[in-house]
């Protein structure tokens, strides 16, 4: 009888603790690649921290913080080819930055400005998915459709621990298994769905256990270890490209910040635990690793951080310089061929607003 357990129930780790746990390494990642990965994480971290500030300053709207999720996002995207597709949730709102999307695009999204809507084909990054879990079947359909066309594209859907409770997740995962879709179901298990702990979300021992029911491998990885995330994703990509179908990756992490700017977690989370997690956050862990293996220097660190910060400054300036959106856009883009009533409505609105 074949093994149906998730591939690994223990968490994969590469990065040590500088003390009792030894550092590992990932084959194929040279110094250049290690620095690239670091840069990706800094870009994301900088985006996130600045966004919280911009929100406080009233320059962007409600914002879903992804502090301490950078390793999961950067590590996994780094394992993809440029042709591979990324399906983000709101928690991965800035993941497009890793594909060359301008900072102002993402900021504009959070500013409720139409220039925040991008063409997914430009980056192979799907639109941000707000309703939980509902994009899992999209990613699976894309992967399946590409496979039907004989292309080698892989699609990754990102979602949280809470998302695994939704029917849409289930239906998408099951389709992926049946269609042997080259898809990766990447679960950011940050252990909270707003105020609901993962223990109230499912009775499964691990989220990776769910993979068994879809006939796909389930992998568990330390979501704070960017190298482990990279490696696990790369293996999943290889499997997918070899025609061996989908993989479920559970990246275990901890939400060490509020759910979003509007949220006050002190009502439901033990803030001491949060503080502990903050001490062990993923960027610092990776930086210390790079220091230990002699890849990072003060100079390099400063340069990378400086560039990221500058990009944010330019980005917010560009976003704020966007001309205010044309209200007529309300009527655009819903249809290729709009029903006549919609044109009438537009004409009527223009008349009322005296713009006609």
């Amino acid at each position: 009888m074949a093994q149906v357990l998730p591939d690994e129930r223990e968490l994969r780790r590469v990065i040590g603790d500088g003390d009792t746990i030894a550092d590992g390494e990932v084959e194929g990642l040279g110094e250049q690649e290690l620095v690239d990965l670091y840069r990706s994480m800094v870009v994301l971290r900088t985006y996130d921290e600045r966004s919280v500030v911009y929100h406080r300053q009233g320059r962007i709207g409600t914002y879903a913080i992804f502090w301490n999720h950078e390793a999961m996002q950067a590590g996994s995207v780094y394992a993809l080819d440029r042709d591979d597709w990324v399906f983000p949730s709101y928690r991965e709102s800035a993941i497009g930055l890793l594909r060359g999307m301008p900072v102002e695009t993402v900021l504009s999204w959070w500013r409720g400005h139409p220039s925040g809507w991008w063409n997914p084909l430009d980056y192979n990054v799907a639109s941000i998915c707000v309703p939980i879990g509902t994009h899992v079947p999209h990613a699976v359909g894309l992967a399946w459709g590409k496979k039907l066309r004989g292309e080698k594209t892989v699609a990754v859907a990102y979602f949280g621990d809470g998302a695994t409770s939704e029917g849409a997740f289930h239906e998408g995962a099951n389709f992926a298994g049946v269609m042997k879709a080259p898809a990766i179901l990447f679960c950011n298990n940050n252990q909270w769905a707003i105020s609901t702990p993962v223990s109230a979300q499912t009775a499964a021992e691990t989220l990776a256990d769910k993979a068994v029911g879809y006939g796909m491998p389930g992998v568990r990885v330390d979501g704070g270890d960017v190298l482990a995330v990279y490696e696990a994703t790369r293996e999943a990509v290889e499997r997918a490209r070899a025609g061996d179908g989908p993989t479920f990756i559970e990246a275990l992490s901890y939400r060490a910040a509020p759910h979003a700017t509007a949220d006050d977690p002190s009502a439901y989370i033990d803030m001491e635990r949060v503080e502990e997690e903050r001490q062990n956050e993923c960027l610092g862990r990776y930086a210390r690793y790079l220091w230990r293996i002699g890849v990072l220097t003060d100079e390099l660190e400063e340069q990378i951080r400086g560039e990221a910060l500058q990009a944010m400054k330019d980005g917010i300036a560009a976003a704020e310089a966007e001309p205010s959106a044309d209200p007529e856009l309300v009527f655009r883009h819903a249809y290729v061929n709009p029903p006549p009533s919609l044109s009438e409505d537009l004409a009527e609105l223009k008349r009322v607003l005296g713009n006609e």
Partner: protein
């Protein structure tokens, strides 16, 4: 031209469209090996292979959700929902994604998907095989809706939907799948969305209907022959709606009865009445009446006839208007 049943016309449309455009694919429960529980997709799997006529797992949200991804990969999926009431699990994907994704990309991407399903009652079936869910679909932004009433339109509207760059929902009157025969153009045949059809000309009263309520309305018109000259307007497409045809007919007759199988409250017929109340108030010589299903679950079949709009109820409504 050849004579076909309504479901044969649909099947022929599939054969023509899958041959014509190799990005068209069909997916759903039992559409492949079995050729569909009504045989609407018969022969497609053998002819075009199991990748273009796909038996999916039993999961309507999964079907529609993955169809969105298929569109992104360049396909034009046609999703079958096995019955009207079994389409409800896909409403979330429809409302939150199908109708919004193009808009969300700033108009950069197209989602040329079609959702089709048998709908309506009168077939002596168990519970939940009889619904008329068009209102849920029409009310959803970004989604178009068509409902044929003849074999020719069943073929033509489905072809139009498949070729349309916007998502389209097609409801097919299952009551007439096998009982209605009609002349159907051979080969490629497209009935444009948004054009109503005057099924019967008349000058005293207009019956506005779609789908299986059209032949019923024609029967009522027959019944009233001698009493009143009854026009029957077959909307064919609910969105885009042919308002011109609606208003022209109302202007001509001044009396309108809307016939709708779905429950009345906030059903699509209300939209028709509302358009008339806004745009035809001076043309109307009498109230606008609706003959509809009721605000109750579609009943057990031994008494379903009491639920369905009947010739009697329609003629009664017309006579009311004539007496007004």
């Amino acid at each position: 031209m050849s004579e076909k049943t309504l479901v044969e016309a649909i099947n022929e449309c599939f054969h023509v469209e899958l041959e014509r455009d190799d990005s068209v694919m069909v997916m759903g429960e039992d559409v492949g090996r079995a050729g569909g529980v009504f045989r609407a997709t018969a022969g497609l799997r053998d002819r075009f292979g199991p990748d273009r006529c796909v038996d999916t797992p039993l999961a309507e949200a999964g079907i529609l959700g993955s169809a969105i991804g298929l569109c992104m990969a360049g396909w034009r999926p046609v999703c079958e929902m096995q019955y009207d009431a079994f389409s409800y699990p896909c409403l979330d994907q429809l409302i939150t994604h199908v109708g919004r994704y193009r808009w969300r990309t700033g108009g950069a991407m197209e989602f040329p998907l079609t959702i089709r399903m048998p709908y309506g009652g009168g077939v002596r079936a168990p519970e939940l095989h009889d619904d008329s869910p068009e209102t849920y679909y029409v009310h959803t932004p970004g989604v178009k809706v068509a409902i044929p009433s003849t074999p020719a339109d069943a073929k033509g509207l489905l072809a139009a939907a498949i070729r349309e760059p916007d998502p389209v929902v097609i409801l097919e009157p299952k009551l007439h799948y096998r009982t209605m025969r009609g002349e159907v153009p051979d080969g490629e045949h497209v009935t444009p969305l948004g054009k109503a059809r005057v099924a019967r000309e008349g000058s005293d009263v207009t019956l506005v209907a779609y789908g299986s309520m059209v032949p019923l309305s024609e029967q009522a018109a027959d019944e009233l022959a001698g009493e009143a000259s009854v026009e029957v307007l077959d909307l064919r497409s609910l969105k885009p709606l042919d308002e011109d045809a609606l208003l022209a007919s109302a202007a001509k007759t001044g009396r309108v009865v809307i016939v709708q199988e779905a429950p009345r409250v906030a059903g699509f017929g209300a939209e028709i009445a509302a358009i008339l109340a806004e745009k035809a108030i001076l043309d109307l010589r009498s109230p606008v009446l609706r003959v509809t299903g009721y605000d109750v679950p579609y009943p057990y079949w031994q008494i379903e006839d009491a639920y369905m709009p009947s010739v009697e109820r329609v003629t009664d409504a017309v006579r009311k208007l004539l007496r007004f």
